[in-house]
């Protein structure tokens, strides 16, 4: 199987087949990430299309050897952040974003409360937590994706954990 980096090098030369493989390979996870970021499956679909358009448009200037997955998630995260800024939806993020999830009654209250706290985290802390947990990104990959130093990634991750733990300890 060709690596993402090999495929992206081919895309940079105009290889449509390689782009198709990348789209098939990464779209489901990008969509899940964007759904979490925007709180809406429909908005996530729009941003997903835009993500791939940007990939196609930026393909020729893609720096060969650069890790592809963090780059893709970086584009998607930037779009989601711009989207938030434009719509300021932070305050009314819809909670029906995940059709596959179990109904609230089936989960312990603590689980629901923690997830709500995660949703209320500032964007910059939340996206780090999500990239870490759901995408398994390393510190270096998150730094690459978000265009920030590794030290900042680390402090944001631990900042998010501290913030959540404070709320969790004060529960009940």
């Amino acid at each position: 199987m060709e690596s993402d980096e090999e495929l992206m090098a081919a895309v940079a030369r105009g290889d449509e087949r390689a782009l198709g493989i990348l789209v098939e390979r990464h779209t489901p996870r990008l969509h899940a990430h964007l759904t979490r970021m925007t709180g809406s499956g429909d908005d996530a679909e729009d941003l997903l299309q835009e993500t791939w358009l940007r990939v196609a448009r930026g393909a020729r200037s893609f720096q060969e050897g650069r890790p592809v997955r963090p780059w893709l998630f970086g584009i998607a995260s930037n779009l989601a952040r711009d989207f938030h800024r434009r719509r300021s939806v932070r305050r009314h993020v819809r909670h029906d974003a995940s059709p596959g999830q179990t109904p609230p009654g089936a989960r312990p209250l603590e689980t629901i409360a923690l997830r709500d706290r995660v949703r209320r985290l500032p964007d910059r802390l939340r996206e780090i937590l999500w990239l870490r947990f759901y995408e398994g990104f390393t510190e270096a990959e998150m730094a690459e994706a978000l265009g920030i130093p590794r030290g900042t990634v680390k402090s944001r991750l631990h900042g998010a954990i501290r913030e959540l733990k404070r709320g969790w300890e004060g529960r009940g």
């Binding site: 782009l19 969509h31 196609a56 020729r60 995940s98 596959g100 999830q101 179990t102 689980t111 969790w168």
Partner: protein, 165 residues
Amino acid sequence: MSCEAVQEELTERLLTPGAPGPEHWDPALRTHVQACTACAGHVQFLRALTTSLASAGAAALAPAHIAQSRARAVRALRAHRPSRAFGRELVGAVVVLALGLPLAVAQAWLIAQGAAALLEPLLPEAVLIALGVFYAGTFLLMVGTLYAFVPLWVAAVRRARMEVP
């Protein structure tokens, strides 16, 4: 090991899906957690957090959307090919126009000849010459304008192709 360092280490370990369990931890870390209430509490918190995060199902994406993303991306890639494509389209358009040029000139010439034959007995020569110059000028201006629009037209066609529905 300080509690802060232990808790950072625990965060790194427990937030990694599929990470090995405590039995695979460094013995010093395991011993600290067993003896320290604060760090044991941190483990408990991280477990609650990961359970909570894992319980969020991912929204399903219809295969049609993947196909749509793919088609649009491929179209955008095609539209962003090196500008050689633009050069080729431009040359093609100019060739077509150049082939049409003798036809346009011949037609203009015939019209001028016919008009001259009709007006010669009626108008003085100076007026005929002035009309001829005006006619030729108008013809050149029209052909020039048409040719000047070729690159603009090619660019517009390319842009329309680039724009994805």
